[in-house]
Assembly symmetry: C2
Homo-oligomer: 222 residues x 2
């Protein structure tokens, strides 16, 4: 989830159980749950691997995200009041300031936050869950394909989408959302050349206690 593990990495049960100082069964349960969320694949008698989506599947994930957010937008267009629209515009303004100050990381977070904000305004916990499930899958793609966004353009689109939705121009808003997502996808340059390889130890170390690190190193030494 922190995008520290490269897709395709093997997640051995014994290895993980030693690193996290727990039993193989707990690890397997975790892997099964992650497989249910589409972040991990389990191949019978071969083990679990960080899911590595094909180009085709990547497109499906982004299409599903587009589809879902179009649905969200339709709902918002028929439900939000002026106060809500103002809240969204405030968020956009925040991101604009971050861009002006050249803080790309903050701008990136706020950019993702915009989509989250829209979904949370539906007041629908299930919708939020589904949305975050799709978004998490896109994170797996990010680590495969380096991204280079035109933040200013994307922000502009956010603003236009909000305008169209508030004025009830649903059809135009829909097609703008669609092209907005296309722009995001296009930002992901399909550049698999430099794989930032990290060992399991390095990737997981932030999540281990000192005690567990010791076990992990001991296990690696043998």
């Amino acid at each position: 989830m922190a995008q520290r593990l490269v897709p395709g990495t093997k997640l051995g049960e014994r290895e993980l159980s030693e690193k996290f100082d727990s039993s193989r069964i707990v690890i397997r349960q975790a892997l099964l749950m992650l497989a249910g969320e589409g972040l991990v694949t389990i191949e019978r008698n071969r083990g679990a691997f960080v899911k590595r989506y094909s180009l085709q599947e990547a497109m499906e994930i982004y299409d599903a995200l587009t589809l879902f957010e179009q649905g969200v937008a339709v709902q918002l267009a028929s439900r939000l009041g002026t106060a809500d629209w103002q809240k969204i515009r405030d968020h956009i303004k925040l991101q604009a300031e971050a861009i002006d100050q050249g803080d790309n990381e903050l701008a990136d977070n706020l950019g993702a936050g915009f989509h989250e904000l829209l979904v949370s305004l539906t007041n629908n916990r299930l919708a939020q869950e589904i949305h975050s499930q799709i978004v998490q899958r896109t994170h797996l793609l990010r680590s495969l394909y380096n991204s280079r966004f035109d933040y200013c353009n994307l922000l502009n689109e956010h603003s236009k989408i909000v305008d169209l939705l508030e004025r009830g121009r649903v059809k135009q808003a829909m097609s703008l959302i669609e092209s907005h997502h296309h722009h995001v996808v296009r930002g992901y340059v399909m550049d698999m050349s430099n794989y930032p390889q990290m060992t399991l130890d390095e990737a997981l170390s932030p999540f281990l206690t000192a005690e567990e690190q010791k076990n992990s190193f001991a296990a690696a030494g043998i």
Copy 2:
């Protein structure tokens, strides 16, 4: 999934492992996966139960379904060709014939199939998965609240929605989808009002049926 278990029924690990002749751990793994799909709740140190959605949650499920199918419809409106629209109309015709012949069960299945067909026309496996996850949750609600649909009216709405989508009247199609789902929900809600929440009957019925399930399973197993 077959709607044979009443929401609230306790799913004891030992009990299930004996009935299915497997170990407790396999059962627990299954329960964890079902919990991930929202069909089961697991309360710590208390066990797993068939999920019993509150009225609020039930509304959220239907809203999420509406939202999602609106997104599907937007996608279809911008992608389908005339051959695809014809396929949909053929399906509607099938259901109309079933209604004419008074075959309510078949009509019901075809009615659900209409929504499935729309989603499958997106050619997006992830979208189909998400859709069926939401639909499965609605099945849990069905077993709580009996329904009585006006099939003819619902079918008419299907037909109108298809017309609007093919002609690109997105906004009108969206609001028709919304009211279509409201009609479906109203089929449940009406009956729900007959069952005031948390009567003694309602509180006790899960335990009685759990007992019955026990006997039924024992009889079937031996």
